[in-house]
Point group: C5
Chain length 336, copies 5
């Protein structure tokens, strides 16, 4: 991050990742936070973009005073347990976006809060979230669009947030594919069910975070606020479209996961039926000769079969034949 | 409660928890209920806030007369079996809110009814509900906002109600987590299913109570009534947002609970399959030597094996070998 | 019914339960059906309220002529197989409401049709439905409200209809509670499943009847017809609210019933697993000594164990020890 | 059909079931298709009603030319694989309705296409559908309403179509009732499940056909086209209402069918549990005496019990007592 | 493709499948891409239609410059991972359509992007998709309609896309039918469940692709853009209708598939019950004579039955009778 913004003013507190003025021609100049009021004093079409990471109360109060931000918005930005939303406070917009990032093989969610005014853009990151330095760098390469005002910077941030969902969704797809393979294979076990449940939970949380993002973007696209020029709204429409696509994919995955659970249940029941059949088949294969041997264990005085010379040999043959015949039959009807 | 409002007028009936006039500068003066008409007689920008707890008919009739409340609203406030709603009666609003509180480890629901007029705010609590004294105290610390009129007091009450949902929702999350652990562990039993059902019921009732609260708040935010200044509607929007968050969490929990039930069914079926396999495995392990012993219990005259010197020893060896081999095989195919 | 309306005109046909004129001051005067045109001839702010029970064609034709009712509405009122609806025919409203009543321990549904015009109110009851005499009596005690016109009478009828749903819904709750108890107890059997199915069916039919009632009431509340003064619409809003509450409760019951069915399935599967375990446990307990006894039934010449003096006693001890040990083990792993 | 329209012009092709002019006073005059342009030439308030059954291209082209019908509508009318819809083409309406009829104990679906213009009504039947001659006859008995124009004829056709759904829905109800009886009885088998699946499929197709019919009727009722006088729209509202009722019933049946499937699963599982219990019970009843007899088959030298005079008699008694006691116990715990 | 458009300009790059000017009278003239600006320079009511297949960046940049296309639209057209959508950029429309085609027995999805301006139509195909040469040929046979402008060409392309769904949907129906047969037959096995899951997945992806197509078409039909004359919107309405029909069929198939899965589960459970019954029946048939033979294997001194002359013969008879009787009984109660 430092590498990308090496000229950041050293007098700014650590939580101020970036603080710069963008002139009407799109050129950038880093300033100290204390210089904000001077910049706002000149009506030269420039705007200020400040990037904060988990700011302390002092800097938030300072900004509230400079830009006239609303108490409720500041309180939200401080506590960071908000759902995605966009709210108009007089001549400014306050936006909460939900960010997601894979940290240590788990999905961690964070929040980014955005204050948008006629001449300022404040982005506040909380928790898991990538730096917006690349978004800022990209914007600076497009001075024509940056001249549209701070809302184009907001677009770049939102675009980066939604793009960050994509690798997670793609990870979900891979997980489902692995589950599907496990389900139709014979190796299905408790661990598979547990992973299935975990995936379902992650998809559910993803959905809770992304669906309101779609609403937020949709509101921005339809908004009539003069803070959002028509040209910027066209760009926001593009972000909205990406968020819809993420949402759709999550819904498809949830749907398939439910079906996978049902199909798994069907397959487990089927294979249990086969186990019971095998159990029955082998029981028959053992119980039949047992009956015969038990028969000739009877102590009747007169059992002529017992006394023949080849009786025993015949019995061995009969038992072998019975077992072989039974085995063949049970194989045929697939009970073995 | 007494501690927070020690100066309450002693001539008021017991069900009047609070009765005060707030001057335009936000200062408070406790008054007797009988003094209401005097206060209303002076058009000095002040308003009256009365807090009742399960009021009797006398006091309701008195207030109806003083403030010109509608018959239907008074009837609702008396019976207290209403769903959350907001209704306009001429120049006043009547609002029913659903409150929830954990009492003796169970969730108890109550109702709070609010009458809002240009110069009065009446809050009527029924059943399980915390006192609004903290909400009142908070408001009194913000005289600027209190000067916006009685609707800011109503906001404080609604904010307290929705905030009271949060510990309950958090309790739900803990319960689900415990259930999830029980389900994937082997200790799953009838008691777990019962707790699962109980949680589902509590979530369902929670939803029935909170969803219309969200509608009520949404109506207030969109309302064009002059009783609700724009500035207050911004604060109500914040409460709405919290109620949406509660609702979302309840929905996620319901969704996960349904999946947990399915997953549990899958796991139970799986473990039954293992039981049947074990049953079959042990049956085979016992039935095989039984067949052999039964064989040599036969009484044929001529069974040469019976008469050899080492016959018995050989048999013992053969049986041991067969059983050991079978055991090894069944272990390998996981039928034991 | 006769007791409540003893002065009904004897010249009216039997299906005319009531026929009265209400003067502008709310006073009532019973009249003969034939006198209707005389009353309508005088423009004195009075209105006529006629109550019918399963009327014949003659009286319907007579009323059609007097009040100028629409062919289709009359046809509907005759056949009585309509779903709840409200329809405007020129200067009049035609409304179909669904009524419910417990008759012989079963829920019977009926219909009430209402014709509302500027100066008349015709209520036609079909099938199971309580008399509206109490509603009429209540209205007559409120001459101020009755002065609002015939729509207030319609409100009283609709209020009575929706209130009649409440004991049925409460009965449903009791049934579900009994089912829940049966499900978690061990006494669950085919009869419980059958009752569960019956309850589901009754809830489904209830829903089909009550949901459109809510639509009807919602249309009336939003209606801009001059037949419904604002003040009456406030009262109808109250009825709407009750119908929403009925609907919500039915939905909650349906939801819980579905969960109960799943939970029941889970419990039955669980208890079957226990049966199979017991089966396996007892099989092992019997098969093990059988193997031992079978062993010593073998006829080998040389089985030294058979000839010892204490051999038999030792065998008895060994078998007893094996069985006892196995029993203890199986108890411990809960297979017995 | 011939009987009802005996005077049909013999010069018309076979697919023209009916071709008549209705004068402003509602009187009918059969004409040849070739005479259409003459009739349209006179602006005397009359309109033409043509009924076709699976028409060939010639007659469709002829009518397209005479009435100025749109290419797309004609193409639709020719191919007859449309879903119910209503579409405005300039000064005319094109409507596709779905018809249903029981043919050879199966439900066959057909289509009826309607072209409605200021002075013409063309009805085109395809596939399974009853003749509209009765609808036409009914309309001719109501000259006042027929004077409203061709749209009243369209109403009569739509009314006949929706009325034809009723016997099918009633047949569905009977099928569900029979299934419910089979499910709760013991006679439940594969054939029942198959019938259940078939019913589900038929309900699903019914729904796919009837739901858009409801949309079509709803669009007509709300339409502001001058082709549909207010008075006719009141009649269409009546048809809409019937279609809503059909739809609701189908939905209820689908819902109950789903529950029936679940309930059936619960009952099958329950009865399997009973089978397993019986299996276990009888196994115990046979295995116990087998153990005893196996015991006394042992060849120990010293088994004093074997040599007593009454030993065998005692054994018989003991075995009988054990079996009887076990039987009684198993009966008591319902394992037999 | 070449055959259909043999006169394509040889100077165009390979990815330009077609590039032609359509004069106001509908006649076609192939041009080189470089000649576009000349054509646009003359305001003679003609329009240009360019067909591309997976174009390179050069040609896209060229077209962007000529027609003034928006950056975002060009970026979308390049990357081709968009969901179906339609977006207005100033005086032009950008449309993404989803195409489907069966390739190697699997469904492959592609995308077609359309740029529509007052005087141009650019169609860009990506991935699996049939050539639009037939659509173009059809349009050229209707010069009257082509005179409506480039939007009629767009209609022809969209019509071809939606028509291409039909054989796939019909394939789905065949698959479901085969699955239904497998389910109700006895031949149901793991492979059937796997195919069921695969069909479900394909239906889900189909739905994700076709549903937004319906939205896109619906937006076009309701659009007020001057790029879409009323007459063309009537044709688009027809395409919309086809897409609705495809969607409905997919939904019906999904619904039936879910039911098929449940029904299959019911049938598998039923047939498992039969297996267990058979297992129990055969066990009884073997265990009963085993008990008898075990009985007479006992070594009691005094077992008079053993010594009779016909004892053995009688025993044989008794065992045969018992087994036969048991067999008959078990057959009767359907346990065999």
């Amino acid at each position: 991050m430092d590498a990308l913004a090496p000229t950041a003013d050293p007098t700014n507190p650590a939580c101020v990742v970036n603080c710069a003025v963008y002139a009407q021609d799109g050129t950038r100049r880093n300033i100290a936070v204390d210089a904000i009021s001077d910049v706002l004093g000149q009506d030269d079409g420039s705007f200020i973009w400040i990037g904060l990471y988990e700011p302390d109360d002092d800097i938030l109060e300072k900004l509230q005073e400079e830009f006239g931000l609303h108490d409720l918005a500041i309180e939200d930005a401080r506590s960071a347990h908000q759902r995605p939303k966009v709210e108009a406070y007089g001549n400014s917009l306050f936006l909460v976006a939900s960010t997601a990032q894979v940290v240590d093989e788990r999905i961690a969610y964070g929040e980014t809060h955005v204050f948008l005014g006629p001449r300022y853009l404040v982005t506040v990151r909380h928790g898991a979230s990538l730096s917006y330095a690349p978004a800022r760098a990209r914007v600076e390469r497009e001075p024509d669009l940056l001249a549209l005002g701070p809302s184009y910077g907001m677009y770049a941030v939102l675009d980066a947030i939604v793009d960050n969902y994509l690798p997670i969704v793609s990870e979900f797809k891979t997980s489902l594919l692995a589950l599907e393979k496990a389900i139709v294979s014979e190796s299905f076990d408790r661990a598979t069910v547990r992973r299935l449940y975990d995936l379902k939970r992650e998809l559910t949380y993803m959905r809770v975070n992304v669906t309101p993002m779609q609403d937020v973007l949709s509101q921005l696209v339809r908004s009539t606020s003069h803070l959002l020029p028509d040209e910027v709204r066209i760009y926001l429409r593009d972000v909205l479209d990406h968020s819809v696509r993420v949402n759709e994919t999550v819904d498809v995955l949830r749907d398939m996961l439910g079906t996978a659970l049902s199909v798994n249940q069907a397959l487990v029941t089927l294979s249990q039926g086969e186990v019971v059949k095998k159990l029955a088949g082998w029981a028959a294969l053992l119980a039949t000769p047992t009956l015969i041997t038990s028969w000739y264990g009877m102590n009747f005085d007169a059992m002529p079969e017992l006394h023949g010379r080849y009786s025993y040999a015949i019995l061995v043959g009969v038992v072998a034949a019975v077992v072989a015949g039974l085995y063949a039959y049970l194989k045929k009807v697939r009970w073995l």
